[in-house]
Amino acid sequence: MSILLETRGLTKSFFGVPALRDVSLTIHEGRILGLIGENGAGKSTLMNVVDGVFPATDGSMFLRGLPYQPRSPADATGHGIAFIHQELNLFSNLTVAENIFVDAFPMRAGFIDRRSMRRETERLLASLDLEIAPDTLLDRLAPGERQLVEIAKALRSNPQLIIFDEPTSSLTARETERLFEVIRRLRDEGKTLIYISHMLSDVRALSDDIAVLRDGELVGSGPAEELDTSRMIELMIGRELAQLYPPKTAAPGRDPVLRVAAMTQPGVVQDVDLEVRAGEIVGLFGLMGAGRTELARMVFGLDEFAHGEIRIGGTLLRGQSPTDRIEHGMAFVTENRREEGLLMESTIADNIALVSLASYARTILRFVDAPKLSAVAQQMADDLQIKAHDIGGQPAKSLSGGNQQKVVIGKWLMRQPKLFVLDEPTRGVDVGAKYEIYSLMDRLAREGSGVLFISSEVEELMAMCDRILVMNRGEVSGEFGERPFKQDQLLRAAFREDLAA
């Protein structure tokens, strides 16, 4: 087992603040290394140093025993190192082939040699079992396919070491499985891989070795067999986490807050019935494309539907307007914080205040009672323990994922809604912040709100919900009302049609 890359005492500081401290890590050839750690633990910094994005402040690296000091990502590529970033670096208005060759088009007689580009692309895609025509516009591809295109792009330069940063955060289960097959096959072909992820189960399933970073330090590493999940978590957060989930303290009441009957939109959802009672957390489980988000959007008045009824606390809601839904006591934490949840450039206080402006507007001109509003927003930020030094001056984009999510939740809490719809609220949030969000959900229920909790992570639904509905291709394919839930039953319902086939 030869060593491909070795770092010795790597240290990196930004403006005097250390992001990496004395990291000495050995990466063995032909193996998959899982690199884990909370947000800000230094995973990306370490990999950026390896990729030549910026140099280390101190320490050295050796590639196959020779000193290695990459000056740029291009230099790293030249040394056989490819880095697949979390955010895909692709262009939706170019073809698959063009995306793969965007930084080095094959040329003939002064023009792009499209034939050889196509041929080469076909070869790369075939090696990933991807059946897409090279001339397909990227825009037409599903997220999973795009991820594979990015990998094909990385493979173009025939790298020896491939680094993946959170590659599965936008993939379906099937796409993830396929990606894993590809990664394993690359390993079997002799390549070395580094796999960075939050998803501990993914890392477990995939890795040969595991390394854990905390606060810029390497706190543990070794063969995967020697680290079980609880040990990994312990290393990551630096203390023993008794539980991943808070104890449930709320008990469902009797009165339904939300009642959806026979909701139908051709091609999207069919005859969905749904009830959420006060103090109850109802889970909505299903695969990607099962129609959960679509259902939530219809309930919240964002998308149209053909038939069906929505009642909040007995009142029949008509029309299609989020404003009206909010007035009836609904709140919607969308799956997509950046595009739909926050005004990233605006201050935290402005974000928290946005939904409840009407309650602080005075006189016919609707002047906003700014002092009172900022006091209340500050109170909310303190209550939720949002880590910010100045909520009136700091833009939302300066916060970490978990704190951003708290801002979104806080924004809705200001109105004390009767019904909370949370769509993937823990996505892209680290372990510690996840726990806080679960606790918040429990608190909402305890204070009498109904919660509709949409998630693709079956474990968190099983831990937090009083009842779980499973959707499959736009229909409710199963309802489970008894705790403890059985995971295989939930999954069976989610895959219903595939079982029948």
């Binding site: 989020p322 949840g341 605006s346 002047f367 009136g392």
Partner: protein
């Protein structure tokens, strides 16, 4: 200062410890005002006439119509739109108003007009001679302006057409419609009460001989005038609207992220429509001031580079073309800067050929200073 505008964030983040005076000026909200003052002071030794009361009164009188129009543009830019149709609104409403309230008209000039015989005759416009003619005419103008704004707003908000194209079409089509109405002629003979809106004084200054029995008219310099009152009132109203009301907060939210705003219950479509209507109404008010000063309704009133002055002044003031960021105060300074710029170029006795060249250079220099300032700002925060 108020802390609620999204644009005010950077000024507050900076810690006070290191703020040298230079930095403080650069970081200030009033940067463009300082720039204007510095520009004024630098040119003063070379252009002594600059500080003459007559000239100052001139600068001010040029400022008010532009300010009224730019206030509307500020709101539109803040929701990440743009309103190019303002120019045609000015021309069209000035024609409509003049046609209704003119006290007489010459058939030699206007007999080809589509309005001839219907709205306007030798005896003047439809409202001519009525005691309520001027207010009614103004209401009609505002309605026409608001209608154009409504069309723009509906096209942008409901039909999701790009604002640039919608209002560009508006600029071409409504401008052409104004010309079509009068077949490219001006409508004169406006009532005195209307003309006073563009020229009327409230406070004037006479600095000549005190013993003169009769003061020559051209030695009286107006400082507080009707146009000033009208424009400032409009600007103050818009300032409070934008910075203190729920509507203003919604405007910023829509400009920053329309989708997120809609999900948070902001009635984005309504806000967009209202903003476009407001912008067109502001343009109409600017048009009233212009046409009253000109003593005529002129279909080509807002044509040419006027619109670029409006957008240029607003953007130099600091309002972003990409939405989410804008302030009336900034626009006020931007307009002041632009008007002073034109004025100094005239005073320099440059042949008209030089003016465009110097104007272009100064806008660029101001933009360059602004970019430098922002870079310093970003550097200071990192």
């Amino acid at each position: 200062m108020s802390t609620i505008e999204s644009g005010s964030a950077p000024a507050q983040v900076g810690s006070k410890g290191w703020a040298s005076p230079v930095r403080r000026v650069l970081l200030s909200e009033y940067f463009v005002l300082y720039l204007t003052i510095v520009y004024f002071l630098i040119l003063l030794p070379f252009l002594p006439t600059l500080s003459n009361p007559q000239n100052l009164s001139n600068v001010l009188s040029n400022m008010w119509p532009l300010l009224a129009v730019a206030v509307g543009q500020t709101l539109v830019l803040t929701i990440a739109g743009i309103d190019l149709s303002q120019g045609s609104v000015i021309g069209l409403t000035s024609v409509v108003g003049a046609a209704l309230i003119a006290t007489a008209a010459s058939s030699d000039v206007l007999s080809n007009s589509v309005l001839w015989g219907l709205v306007i005759t030798e005896q003047g416009g439809l409202f001519a001679g009525k005691s309520w003619a001027v207010p009614a005419g103004i209401v009609a103008m505002l309605l026409v302006g608001a209608l154009i704004g409504l069309i723009n707003g509906i096209a942008v908000a409901l039909l999701r057409m790009p604002p640039f194209m919608v209002t560009l079409v508006g600029l071409i089509a409504f401008g052409a419609f104004a010309i079509f109405l009068t077949q490219s002629e001006n409508i004169r003979n406006l009532p005195d009460a209307y003309i006073a809106l563009g020229k009327g004084d409230i406070v004037s200054v006479y600095l000549g001989e005190q013993s003169t029995p009769q003061i020559p008219r051209r030695q009286i310099y107006s400082f507080i005038t009707y146009p000033m009152i009208i424009s400032i009132t409009l600007a103050v109203f818009a300032h409070f609207l934008l910075s203190r009301t729920m509507f203003g907060r919604h405007v910023y939210a829509v400009g920053a992220n329309r989708r997120a705003a809609e999900i948070s219950g902001v009635p984005a479509k309504r806000i967009i429509i209202q903003v476009f209507v407001f912008s067109a109404v502001c343009a109409t008010i600017g048009g009233i001031l212009f046409s009253a000063r000109l003593e005529a309704g002129r279909p080509t009133l807002g044509e040419g580079t006027f619109l670029l002055d409006v957008i240029g002044a607003t953007v130099i003031g600091g309002t972003s073309l990409f939405g989410g960021k804008g302030k009336i105060v900034w626009t006020f300074f931007g307009v002041l800067f632009f008007v002073l710029l034109s004025n100094t170029l005239n005073l320099m006795n440059l042949s008209s050929f030089h003016i465009d060249m110097v104007k272009g250079s100064v806008i660029l220099a101001a933009a360059l200073l602004d970019v430098t300032r922002r870079r310093l700002l970003a550097g200071g925060l990192a």
